[in-house]
């Protein structure tokens, strides 16, 4: 009986160790967005993105604080927080999903993998299921991931007053770039 308990304990620990070796994270990933308009381009960056990848399950998640986006212009940043993203009401944006064909990625060898990531993107109190392309790079034991995709402002109930519609583009380009460490 004692042997069985010890064996189960050993297997549990070994399994947990193995699972831990498959988890990668960052707390300073970058997410930036860009929108080209007639008058002035909208360009902002957030370097406080938490992201976790579990290579065993294929799950990937991102979360960030909306008030941590930095705009070159203070007034743009103010308007973004107060009128558009309403960061007091909706402090966070997040994504939770899975990486397709995760089993094709060998994290022990250098390589570049084009994958598809599917999941729920939550912005401004609205959650939408999205599917976006991403690149995962393994080099010298380091893991990084990047993605570029577009979202429509109106899909997330972000209302832009008509007086400034020529300033804010309808389609926003989002770029994500993260370098991970092993947990």
């Amino acid at each position: 009986m004692k042997k069985k308990v010890l064996m189960l304990l050993f297997l549990f620990t070994a399994f947990r160790w193995e699972a831990q070796g498959q988890i990668f994270y960052t707390k300073n990933g970058n997410l930036s967005f860009f929108s080209k308009t007639i008058l002035e381009n909208i360009d902002a960056s957030n370097n406080q993105v938490i992201s976790v990848i579990n290579f065993q399950s294929g799950s990937i998640q991102f979360s960030l604080l909306n008030n941590a986006f930095h705009f070159p212009k203070a007034k743009m940043e103010e308007d973004f927080n107060e009128n558009y993203i309403e960061s007091d009401k909706y402090p966070r944006s997040a994504f939770k999903g899975t990486i397709s064909d995760i089993s094709n990625i060998d994290i022990t060898k250098d390589g570049t993998y084009q994958v598809n990531v599917k999941g729920d993107l939550a912005i401004h109190g609205v959650t939408k299921n999205i599917s976006v392309p991403a690149t995962i790079i393994i080099k010298d034991g380091n893991l990084s991931a990047a993605s570029v995709f577009h979202v429509l402002v109106k899909d997330y109930n972000i209302s832009v007053p008509s007086i400034v519609t020529n300033k804010i583009g309808e389609s926003i380009e989002i770029k994500i770039s993260c370098t991970y460490e092993k947990k």
């Binding site: 988890i23 300073n28 370097n47 406080q48 979360s63 604080l65 008030n67 930095h70 947990k183």
Partner: protein
């Protein structure tokens, strides 16, 4: 005789428009506030993390405010845009006060005590299932003398 008042009115009108445009331009292009000169709320990294990670009523004191936080350095690293990030220790292993620096601080190492001043964005949860604690984030940070 009738032309002069008309001319004056037109000049005044143009002057008003010019002033309005100038004010609008100044507002639109106003610079970000200088954190170094701003009044701040003083605390420690341990206390700040304790309060914000529990998101109680105490967090109102710090959220979106300029905070001056003292603590021991856990790690110094660089982010995706090559900015220095200083992680200050808390009472939670793996949980930090995560400070992105506007100016790089040289000659520091893990274990040193430091005081940093920046805007407190708040706390993001890590992942309980993966045993990853969250961080409290400060942005636009400078070293306090």
């Amino acid at each position: 005789m009738g032309r002069k008042p008309g001319k004056y009115i037109a000049l005044v009108f143009v002057a008003i428009i010019a002033v309005a445009v100038f004010i609008g331009y100044r507002i639109w292009n106003k610079p970000h506030a200088d954190i170094r000169d701003a009044d701040s709320v003083k605390t420690t990294s341990i206390a700040l993390y304790e309060i914000l990670s529990k998101s109680g009523s105490g967090s109102v004191t710090y959220l979106n405010k300029v905070v001056e936080v003292s603590g021991a350095i856990a790690e110094v690293l660089k982010n995706e845009q090559d900015q220095q990030v200083i992680l200050l220790k808390t009472n939670v292993s793996g949980g930090s006060v995560n400070c992105t620096m506007e100016e790089e601080v040289t000659g520091i190492k893990p274990g040193d005590t430091i005081t940093l001043k920046g805007i407190c964005s708040g706390y993001i949860n890590g992942d309980k299932d993966m045993d990853l604690p969250g961080d409290v984030f400060l942005i636009r940070c400078y070293r306090s003398i």
